[in-house]
Subunit: 486 residues, 2 copies
């Protein structure tokens, strides 16, 4: 804690989005750079958000019937090569262990970039009969992908994630599972992280290496770039064939199962920060805020101090009993103004001030982090503060979602022609383009090469769109979202 | 699920302890061998026990004031060398990443065997003033130590653990922290895992590499070998000096902080299994049992089946509302006897049978896993079953602890002379020897070389013991526990 240093403001978001993001992350003590290329340290305030997020998502995953397990960090190099597209996708970015216990290894080991290969090796031993299906496991773990351009939470060599892997008796069931998880991710991101999304399938070029189909949830950041928040893959029988997973069906016939995998990672922390943060710092949705409310007692002399702190401690107890994660800031030697700035920087959804005058009038002064500083403070009767806080936090959650949805709406557009698409993508705050598309990879490649926008999602369940491809002018197969992406 | 195969019994524990353990772990589907040397797969039933254990221990750790964080998997090779004893202890057993992203790395990276070095590198940047202290972080993660002799859960190349790291302004405060965590581990192991322990400090020879003092909690397994369940280290200023961590004290003087680290790992799963398991399989303490009670409905014809299953589902709801983690086994195509054996193997603390006759008499037939099969079943009024279950589970928890404590008591002895120590250590079920010791490393080495017993723990707070060293006959400094160890 260095009061002087910490009172410096961070770069305004509108001035330099990337600088704003980095400064916010460091100043709010969410993370720090590590002494290993591409790696970061999750500091307690950042990790606590991950824990809150993880706890809620874990419950939702378990409700679908998947159970947690843990598979090895190391994968024999030969495993990666068993599925042709998979190895092509991941081989260039793996970290390789060549020595162990002081000796060179006979076969190098890959540090897992994802666990399809080793999990399917195990599935081949566990699956014998249709009665063993569906088999649904999930693991929370670290993975490593050698990245050259690092960005805290968004793109790091090591990151944390969950990866679910399932095997089913039929294609339909696997397809349903992939879609179920797409919906789990959508509901989780919108309800818990207050992140509005577009959802759909990926184009062939953007699919997971080895998948038949990849479904995605995508958010739009305030700088106009899209961020992939989670993916769910229908793997078909590709890995089953590569790893010789077979089961006896009800008619005693040997069959390959149909599989899925799905995951979200700590990049969700980056999405949270970018979508909700402002020039004062982080703004956390109450559902994942480690501290939902902070109480700042204010006084000028010891007599006042005693009474104010006693009232603050009583309120702390009441809030905790009301199920509100509350912190009482009793730090000495820093001003209330410093504390206000500090908790704003750290994104605490509700600040509660209690001073001598508040006490005299039996009230608390409350500030909501979702509202701009001017006019954000209001009084609550001290006796009712704890009872009203859960409702107030629910409003903050809704309000952050509404603000993010409005920002997304403003930044989503339907280009009339290719020139408009190019112009928008070349400018500031490029945004999310909803456009008619013939579905051909050649058109997708042209857009990517010329505008740097990629196909983010093709919404599901489209009727005949009726228009013409924005790129080639042929009849459109569908509408698709294109954007520059993180 | 293969009914035939699964009805084969496992090797009796008294016949071959190691075979019994391995067969139990595989049959109860707790873990499986992985296709990577020294690594294992945690299957859902095994991982669920780890999650239960982790949840409870995490709450206890947070109550001491530590917060969770996450540091990188990879450590620059040069870091490991900064503390002389530390590198000597860990260098022989590390895994080394030499290639990343298709290129040879300039400096090889160590896969963390423990995180003192990288965490202290970060502490050096975060600690400036006495106001930054104490700094207390904990992380749950995977670590890798290249092991040649693998034993599931007990000794594996990769394992899961928590490691706490703290920095304090004074030696006394660090010493107190190390002892606080010793007590957290003791209470956790005894209250939650039902594992009786001896506690104390390690001899100099058995200390953590780089520590001033190592404190330990040790359990005695039924085969007479000790198992280290957790350790807490007072690191002094060794790492602070090596990583140049300094703070300005209240008098504006630069000081090195005093530090601790402490951890427990997935080896606790091995301790649980060995301490409580029997010839029918696992016996889980209710506090960490993923399924605390299982309901087995029994019927012969469809009319019976309908009524029985309806009653079973109602009871399931009642038990869940009573806070009991309950599973209803509605599998078709296997006999009730098969289900009984299956749930005994998986260690579920309470089995509840409901058959047509039970239903007629409005009762449930309950079997406690902590009691031998003969005479273990008794009836409870159906209406009272849910209400009585929490109390009954508390009794099972106590009973498992009492049985383990009695087994430990029977296997602990005070050898009269060195010959008795040698004889006991050479025999079956060697046991835990409490002996007078002069404290000299030469005597410890002699015992280790001749009997393979090592000093497990020196109890704290001993008065003058008054006896003579069992090895050299000189006046004893203290009593110490010696045993052959896992």
């Amino acid at each position: 804690m260095n009061p002087k240093k910490d009172e410096k403001k961070i770069t305004p978001r509108s001035q330099d989005f990337a600088a704003w993001y980095n400064e916010l992350v460091l100043r709010a003590e969410l993370a720090d750079y590590a002494p290993v290329r591409g790696c970061i340290v999750f500091r307690p305030d950042g990790y606590a958000i991950w824990e809150a997020l993880q706890g809620e998502l874990d419950r939702r995953i378990k409700r679908t019937g998947a159970r947690n397990a843990y598979f090895p960090l190391f994968i024999p190099q030969s495993f990666l090569s068993k599925e042709a597209q998979h190895v092509a996708g991941f081989a260039p970015e793996v970290a390789v262990v060549t020595h162990g216990g002081g000796k060179e290894l006979d076969e190098p080991l890959i540090v897992r970039p994802t666990s399809e290969t080793i999990i399917n090796h195990m599935f081949a031993q566990w699956i014998r009969s249709h009665r063993d299906l569906p088999l649904m496991v999930n693991q929370w773990c670290n993975v490593v992908r050698w990245e050259m351009r690092t960005r805290i939470f968004l793109r790091t060599a090591e990151f944390l994630w969950q990866e679910g892997h399932t095997a089913h008796a039929s294609r339909e069931e696997a397809e349903q599972e992939a879609l179920t998880m797409l919906e789990v991710y959508r509901a989780f991101c919108e309800e818990i992280l207050a992140l509005p999304l577009v959802t759909g399938r990926k184009s062939a070029a953007e699919r997971f290496p080895g998948a038949l189909e990849t479904y995605t949830v995508e958010a739009l950041m305030p700088d106009g770039r899209a961020l992939q928040c989670g993916t769910s893959h229908h793997l078909g029988q590709n890995f089953a064939r590569a790893f010789e997973i077979r089961f006896l069906d009800a008619n005693n016939q040997l069959q390959y199962p149909w599989q899925t995998s799905w995951g979200v990672s700590t990049r969700l922390l980056g999405a949270l920060i970018m979508a909700h943060g402002d020039d004062q710092g982080l703004r956390l949705p109450p559902a994942v805020a480690p501290r939902q409310a902070v109480i700042v007692p204010i006084w000028r002399n010891p007599q006042e101090g005693e009474a104010v702190r006693q009232a603050a401690r009583q309120l702390l107890g009441e809030l905790e009993r009301a199920g509100v994660r509350t912190h009482l800031d009793e730090r000495e030697g820093v001003t209330p103004g410093f504390k206000f700035n500090d908790w704003e920087m750290r994104g605490v959804p509700a600040r509660i001030e209690i001073g001598p005058r508040d006490l005299k009038e039996r009230r608390a002064t409350v500030a909501r982090r979702d509202r701009p500083a001017a006019g954000a403070r209001f009084a609550l009767a001290l006796e009712e503060t704890a009872a009203k806080m859960p409702g107030l936090l629910a409003e903050v959650q809704q309000s952050l979602f509404a603000q993010a949805r409005e920002a997304m709406r403003r930044n989503t557009f339907e280009p009339k022609d290719y020139a408009e698409l190019s112009r928008r993508m070349a400018g500031e705050g490029a945004g999310l383009a909803s456009l008619f598309w013939c579905g051909a990879e050649s058109c997708e490649t042209k857009v990517r090469d010329e505008t740097r926008a990629t196909c983010r999602a093709v919404p599901l369940g489209q009727d005949e769109p009726g228009g013409r491809c924005l790129v080639c002018g042929e009849p459109a197969r569908e509408r698709a979202y294109f954007a520059k992406a993180y």
